[in-house]
Amino acid sequence: MANSMLKLKTVSEGVAAAAPVATASVVPLARKPPPLSARLLPVAQKIAAATVPPLIIAALFLLVWEMACWSPTSSLPPPSRVWSEAKDLIVDPFFVAGTQDIGLGWRVLTSLQRVAIGFGLAAVVGVAVGTVVGQSVWAMRGFDPLFQVLRTVPPLAWLPISLAAFRDASPSAIFVIFVTSIWPILINTAVGIRNIPQDYRNVARVLRLNHLEFFVKIMVPSAAPYIFTGLRIGIGLAWLAIVAAEMLTGGVGIGFFIWDAWNSSRLPDIVVALAYIGGVGFLLDRLVAGAAVLVTRGTASN
């Protein structure tokens, strides 16, 4: 108590010292802070409640990691060594020091570009084919086993076929992303179309909506929550696939960077790249989830 009063005193002295001319107006100001801080306190508490636990856990994690890899004979680098040896990668994501010596930000952007193409194609084709398949019970029954089997094929298993077909690294990587991420989009869209309530179909029939109007005004909004579930799973898989595919196809992407760093025993670099990949994957997931909230406003709540 005495301590805080002392602090208060030094603060008001500081204010008075900084603005000696306006002494008269400083006095009433000095009385105001309590209500202001009382209003700010809950906000500060909220922010603290949200940020303090993750910070503590992160600090603990770094501490345990540091202790576990502390010995000089340890095969994995402790955080302190990652910092000292890969500082350039951490501090500046967008440096360019040569054709193969560029910041991780550039590499991530290259990978993202491939993901954008592959995932974009998967989204368009997946929603289109899912819509067609979802229209008919027969198609649904016929295709579902096939989709379920293809869905479980791991991304890398597609790579040899893809390389054989395209004979070039970049389209192969894009194809692997496409073929990995399309199944959940396709399957979820088909299920969403199947689950359009009969009531909505009846409304459309009474209004005599044509096929295009029915698709745009009833089908897509009604199936949107399902479609976005598929897109969200799909973007996660696409990000998984790109890293794996780039490891094998080479190029400038973040995946190849890891492979390259492994070959030249730069373990701290790999650690930094892993953090980048995790962060970007998290952001992609949040991005699709945010778009889903925007687009399906209302739909999901009924």
Binding site: D199, N202, V203, R205, V206, P221, G298
Partner: protein, 264 residues
Amino acid sequence: MNPYLKIDHVGISFSRAGATTEVLRDVTLKIQQGEYVSIIGHSGCGKSTLLNIVAGLLRASTGGVLLEEHEVDEPGPDRAVVFQNHSLLPWLTVYENVALAVDKVFGGKRSRAERREWIMENLALVNMAHAKDKRPAEISGGMKQRVGIARALAMEPKILLLDEPFGALDALTRAHLQDQVMEIHARLNNTMIMITHDVDEAVLLSDRIVMMTNGPAATIGEVLTVALARPRRRLELVDNHEYNRCRAAVLEFLYARNRFVEAA
């Protein structure tokens, strides 16, 4: 004079997994323009099925429906349906739900401003203009049903088909909506067919009450004419002789002669 709507010896059977159930048999009914007809019967007897045949959402197995001498063979906005569970599209606002119907039906015929005015006019008719920007999830069940009625009315249908429109509402809301529907009917004099399982509601609103026998192979058991002057006020009807006679007749039909037998 030819009837406005003619349901002519309609029968329907559903086949499922090899077994065929005959739901309706030989249903014949003639309805004049401006008439308010209720269909009453125990649950599962085939009331909704009959209404869906008139709407064109189902095809009769035998017989057919004629509206102004034209055979009904597909759904259309001239037979607007107010569905049992409102069927508003949850991603559209109240205004947009009505606009979907109005833009489709009058898109080529009326200007944008005219359509806008017409939408607001219909929302005002059911006292929902104030909630035009709300989504269905944000309004009560009674309000949703009123928007459903506004959407149907806005199509300017020849016939309004109402499938238990107030079934899911509490008694007070229900009474309020019944009054509003009576008012709308008095003002627009449109032809209405309403399914209900509420005897008081049927007597209060209808010119004629169609009583259906129990299924399977349900048909019209009896048609009762309600000779009550309009406008009708529910409080004045409590000790009205005609009202109580009709009420007694329907109750007698439903609970003495065609008692509900639990099928399952």
